[in-house]
């Protein structure tokens, strides 16, 4: 979709719909995705740049569940 809309800079996180900034209570991941976007603003050299963020849904989910366990939100 992004390739068709052709924004000047884009970062792609391979996450489910409704989770473009990560998983609940995973502040570090949410922040990192924004920081990666900000880095792209500074470093992109060509319009149409799409940066694949080195993330996986499985890892984000695992880390999120661990955080929820630590917070006592998940057994």
């Amino acid at each position: 979709m992004t390739e068709h809309a052709k924004p000047p800079r884009a970062a792609f996180a391979p996450f489910m719909m409704g989770h473009h900034f990560g998983v609940p209570f995973h502040r570090d991941l949410q922040r990192r995705i924004i920081e990666d976007c900000l880095d792209l603003v500074v470093t992109a050299e060509q319009s149409g740049t799409i940066r694949d963020l080195p993330l996986t849904w499985a890892q984000a989910r695992r880390e999120g569940m661990e955080i929820e366990r630590r917070l006592g939100l998940r057994g």
Binding site: M1, T2, E3, H4, A5, K6, P7, P8, R9, P14, M16, M17, G18, H19, H20, F21, G22, V23, P24, F25, R27, Q30, R31, I33, I34, E35, D36, C37, L38, D39, V41, V42, A44, E45, Q46, S47, G48, T49, I50, R51, D52, L53, P54
Partner: protein, 172 residues
């Protein structure tokens, strides 16, 4: 920063997670998908990030409680947008959109509307600040030409009026 793979512009060399998805949607709903033929010129950042005012534009349907809800069931979509005060607390906001899973966003709105992370980045001076408002609409709009002519232009004008140096735009 971590290392990233970076295919060329226009996506050459990118691996598609769901190949053919765009064509499938466009076939089922002819004319509903945005296709731009040209890349817009890249606007260089004229000053350090720490001096830049950032705005956030989102298709999440997040809006301030008490504002007019988006029309989430209109057959061709809702072409209006809402101004969301960037100083809002999460408990002052709600979601009016049916077209994406919201269960996790209801537990932590930041997964789709990272207002607390953006407030933190501004407070720490990573960015220079936030515009007074963020801008939201719903991502179900079946007429991309109308969207570009009305909603996109309206939001672009509002973003400009608020003096944004950077716009972070995210789908939902």
């Amino acid at each position: 920063m971590t290392a990233t793979s970076e295919p060329g512009p226009m996506g050459e060399g990118r691996q598609q997670l769901r190949p053919g998805l765009w064509a499938t949607v466009n076939e089922r709903y002819p004319g509903s998908m945005i296709t731009k033929r040209d890349l817009v010129p890249l606007a260089p950042l004229g000053k350090p990030l720490s001096e830049c005012r950032l705005t956030f534009v989102s298709t999440s349907g997040v809006q301030a409680k008490g504002s007019v809800p988006f029309d989430t069931v209109h057959p061709v979509g809702d072409y209006s947008f809402r101004r969301v005060p960037s100083a809002s607390r999460v408990d002052e906001l709600e979601i009016h959109q049916l077209k994406y899973p919201t269960a996790d966003a209801h537990r932590d709105l930041n997964v789709i509307f990272p207002i607390e992370r953006l407030q933190e980045l501004a407070a720490e001076g990573v960015i220079g600040g936030l515009t007074e408002h963020f801008f939201t609409f719903i991502g179900y709009n079946m007429d991309p030409e109308r969207l570009e002519r009305t909603l996109a232009e309206d939001i672009a004008a509002a973003v400009s009026d608020e003096g944004a140096d950077i716009a972070l735009a995210a789908p939902a």
